[in-house]
Amino acid sequence: MICLYRWLCTTTLGALVLVGGLALPTAALAQDQGEDGVGSEADGEPLVAPRYGFGDSTLAMRLGIALPLFLLATDEVETPDGDRNNVLPANLSVVGSAAVNWNVYLNESFTIGAELGGGLAVDINDALWYMVPILVRGGYVISLPQMEIPISAGLGAVVMRLVDNTRVAFALQPGAGFLWRATPDWSFGATLEYWFSWEPPWADASDPHFFGNFVSASATAVYHF
């Protein structure tokens, strides 16, 4: 019952953040289009996708949730039930996450940048778990008149902490965003990512390697400099 309550609380909070994140930019889009937007058909001008080039940069902010899917071990591990398995539960609540990402265009489509994030959850015994991903992110942006669709992958390290145990894992985070251009400077939308992280057995080489698998959805705001 307590578990269900915690799950409901976390999920509801995450959903509110997501819905809020999506609703705000939609309202802004409705308000701004036709004023200083990228153009509207009402102005009699065809919509044109803005062109970015080498050196143009963006700052993206994301706020969302991530679902812990499962953990994968290179060797079978004994569970509390006495079973031995490679695929194991993550035993974490829904993760609340946030990230700031700075990107530079290499040409009109390809970007490279850096990302600093954070994730927060509790385990099945209410112990706090948090993670700080530090990533290099490369991307390809499909630029449409009213939308941009960045497809990207982040690669780097994740510093994780559970109670007083701190560890580093390596992370790969591929994902795609769907962003509406609200103004020439701002785009808003959502980003979906798969978080894959590899925690080597730092303390004892005979321990198995572990791979964390999460799927993340976040409300995203992008500012174009």
Partner: protein, 354 residues
């Protein structure tokens, strides 16, 4: 700055800083990884013991486990939920239980004023006060290797023994210089004689009613703590300086010293031993416990024991007890943890918080 001499820009220096952080946090001592810990974690029942208990003892009687930790709790073996056990009273107030031992179906508890005994009952034992002993009891324990005898250490009043299941206690006459050296800590019967640690000294004797002899070969540099004997004249002694001595009829040998895991401390104070299958565990004050093989008793293979439960990893371990296929580790302020014997001897053993 060295980084400038290397020609690194600001970004390069930040990157180096991140790499240094990665190396520092990735090279922590031999605790299990976080994903490993999460994957093998079991959910605690919220009706269980408080996390911050100072545990003095556990017992197993007639299908129930008992834990003494100022309060007293019991649970059926195989169940998760602990329930409170009524303690001895002083007037209308229940007294804190500071130690516990058992003999057959009798529980024997030390309080801040005397020792009490009762037939074990998971809810409301009918406590009777033991005679011949009073004052604040620091520890009550059955002498390993001598199950019929129960020792009680009394604050500022020495050592008492009961041979009738905790009904009557009599004083163990310690040499005057022993009591001046410090308080008794542990005792063991190796099959032919008793061994006791008292302050900075080790004593032995064939009978607790006769004067004990000082083991002159034992160095007197630090307070002695736990004793464990694997056979007659084959005993091991731990001290507050992190040293473990092996003492038999022929030799005294310093097996080794537990090295502090932190640079800012000089020694790892050791507490009590337990022997589980082929592994010896030794508790510490503040560093959980260490584990090494019993067969060769070679401290070169010593490793820090609890690898996933952080509450045990930095705990002051106050007691170990084995009950059937479970091992309990009690802590000062960190509650009680348990592990299955079969898992305890593996190096990936995961302790469950009780």
């Amino acid at each position: 700055m060295w980084s400038r001499r290397l020609g690194l820009g600001r970004a390069g220096r930040h990157l180096l800083g991140v790499l240094a952080l990665v190396l520092v946090v990735a090279c922590e001592p031999d605790v299990l990884g976080i994903y490993h810990t999460l994957a093998t974690e079991s959910e605690r029942d919220n009706r269980n013991l408080h996390d911050n208990l100072t545990v003095s003892a556990t017992a197993e009687v007639a299908g129930y486990f008992y834990v003494a930790a100022h309060g007293m709790w019991s649970r059926p073996i195989g169940r998760d939920s602990w329930q409170e056990v009524r303690r001895p009273r002083s007037g209308s107030v229940e007294m804190p239980v500071l130690g516990m031992a058992q003999r057959n179906a009798t529980l024997c508890v030390g309080t801040d004023n005397g020792v009490y005994h009762a037939d074990a009952d998971p809810k409301a034992p009918s406590w009777q006060r033991a005679t011949g002993i009073s004052g604040q009891i620091l520890r009550v324990f059955a002498i390993p290797g001598r199950a019929g005898e129960i020792l009680a250490i009394v604050h500022n009043d020495g050592l008492f023994v009961s041979r009738d299941g905790c009904q009557e206690f009599s004083r163990v006459e310690l040499p005057v210089e022993a009591t001046a050296s410090g308080r008794p800590y542990d005792a063991f019967h190796d099959g032919s004689k008793y061994w006791l640690t008292v302050g900075k000294r080790v004593y032995f004797g064939g009978n607790l009613d006769d004067p004990l002899q000082r083991e002159a070969r034992a160095p007197e540099d630090s307070d002695y703590r736990g004793i464990w004997c694997l056979g007659t004249d084959n005993c091991y002694f731990a001290n507050r300086a992190g040293e473990i001595y092996s003492l038999d009829s022929n030799n005294l040998e310093l097996l080794g010293t537990i090295e502090p895991p932190d640079d800012d401390v000089e020694e790892v104070p050791l507490t009590l031993f337990i022997d589980i299958e082929d592994q010896m565990l030794i508790g510490t004050e503040g560093y959980g416990f260490y584990q090494f093989g019993v067969r060769d008793l070679d401290l070169s293979d010593v490793r820090r024991g609890p690898r996933s439960t952080s509450q045990l990893y930095r705990a002051h371990v106050t007691m170990f007890a084995r009950h059937g296929d479970l091992v309990f580790a009690g802590t000062a302020g960190g509650g009680l943890s348990s592990i299955k014997v079969a898992t305890a001897v593996k190096d990936t053993g995961t302790w469950d918080w009780e």
